[in-house]
Symmetry: C2
Subunit: 308 residues, 2 copies
């Protein structure tokens, strides 16, 4: 019986989930991951957020980079470069194995969620990880008169473009993957991981059936701010919040989640935001939210589970 | 204008071609390669003979193994193993790049010969390398009541099965790749490389239009024995010759090519076979045919070009 559902993006979410999975029984936790960042590269299907979560939970993540597999090499990429292929998307040799395997499973008719179950099983991950949808949803970044694929914006152009709009292509028609709605219905608590609100959490919420379920849910919704002291811990969340007209602060994120957020966990550095957030009708817990170690991940997970 | 056409399999052919390309102008030589060994593995199209020739001519072949790329690593394969994929087909990380690139080109609608031109260009190979056909021809090995894919027989089961029959699936319907027949028509000299007669040369000859062209050709056909002193230099040629009812000797190979072979190059170790082969109406040159270095490859190529 699902007790807790986590909505998750990439690195920040993965770090939190590493703590959460230590505290919550595997049958009681369901992780719903963003697939808006998914892309096809070199003819292979790549699901960056699913992979980051899988690699982190399997204990094989490259901790320094936050993505990819530890101690990986880049010989395939080097040879692809010799063969005049585009190589701005940095895939390691071991990482390629995941994409090759997943692509072949998809080609054989498996759904993305089925491939995820299979990959998690072989990597001995017991947590239930589900892509938000088996239908393609693709995040597109609009920068003035430019429309960029997400990875083009994020990796190829290094988030240098000002984001003026974001589109989740396919979201309106996308059905939640099997067990997503069931998990949300059963959940006592929904955790919004410290992921980019606009790029990682929004794509999940942009699927109408998921948004409806969450909006009407009686679950206690606890979020963690990905912005600490006005800065994103990783990635361009702060700049995007600003350019999209939101305040780049813990308060700005809480305001963005207003309407379905019950409780927000903010960092000690943002104590001054507590009162403003509470005025939105959202409870606040102030703690150390930066996860530099497994212990700190477990600490934050405990704060989330204790929030009420 | 094509002066010389070489019919080629894998390692032995590649070594000879390395010499031949030093002596013959690139516009005068066309290499027609066997694709009967081609396979799809991990969803990727692999053309072992094309690759061995390409890597050898590009100077990046793993000389010790005779296949694959020098100084390659096997991290992708190791990870595929963790993901419970079959890994008996040993693909290196750099090697994967070739298969990934070719597969994507094919997916985009390019023919196998177009992908080969493209790959050769990026690897700075000036020789004209053409797959025998753009249509799938697949070598199947029959061992008593067992039907094995070529790579299953060759790699997975290590050539341990007795070959009782060989099938070239698709050959009857296969059209020669563009320029194959034109090259054969123009050629003054056809070189049968020291490749496995039954597994590497026969698939090429099994394409009706190629066989017709060769049979009626006025070109001087010069072969090199892949069998030296009754043994194959590499691979199971000797055992297969025997199990298929041929003599496992230079003479046996000459007899197999009887009818279209004009001149046969045999090793010093097989001097005693000279007279028997000449009785087939085939001229014979005896020399050192083992290619341990570029110099020895050039020597053998020279003997082939001088044969008359």
């Amino acid at each position: 019986m699902t007790r807790i559902v986590a909505l998750a993006g990439g690195v920040g979410a993965a770090k939190l989930l590493r703590g959460l999975t230590r505290l919550v029984h595997k049958d009681e936790l369901v992780i719903i991951a963003n697939t808006g960042d998914d892309t096809e590269i070199h003819g292979l299907h790549v699901s960056p957020d699913l992979d980051t979560i899988m690699y982190t939970l399997a204990g094989i993540i490259d901790e320094a980079k936050g993505w990819g597999i530890a101690n990986d090499t880049f010989n395939c990429l080097e040879m692809l470069d010799k063969l005049k292929q585009e190589t701005w998307f940095k895939l390691g040799d071991k990482d390629f194995a995941t994409h090759i395997t997943r692509t072949q499973m998809l080609k054989r008719g498996m759904t993305l969620s089925e491939t995820t179950i299979q990959l998690c099983r072989t990597l001995k991950i017991s947590a239930k990880l589900i892509p938000m949808s088996n239908d393609p949803v693709r995040t597109k970044i609009i920068s003035h008169n430019l429309c960029l694929d997400f990875q083009e914006y994020f990796v190829k152009r290094g988030t240098k473009d000002e984001v003026t709009s974001i589109i989740f292509e396919g979201a309106q028609k996308a059905k939640p993957a099997p067990n997503v709605l069931k998990a949300l219905k059963e959940a006592e608590r929904v955790v919004i991981c410290p992921s980019n609100p606009l790029l990682s959490i929004s794509p999940i919420l942009s699927i109408p059936a998921i948004w409806n379920e969450l909006k009407n849910s009686r679950a206690y919704v606890v979020g963690v701010s990905p912005i600490v002291g006005g800065k994103a811990l990783k990635g361009p969340a702060d700049r995007i919040m600003s350019s999209m007209g939101h305040e780049a602060s813990a308060y700005g994120v809480a305001k963005f989640y207003e309407g379905f957020l019950d409780h927000f966990i903010i960092d000690n550095a943002d104590t001054f935001d507590k009162e403003r957030i509470e005025k939105l009708g959202v409870k606040v817990t102030v703690t150390d939210t930066i996860m530099r170690s497994l212990e700190e991940s477990i600490h934050l997970a405990k704060v989330i589970l204790d929030a009420r």
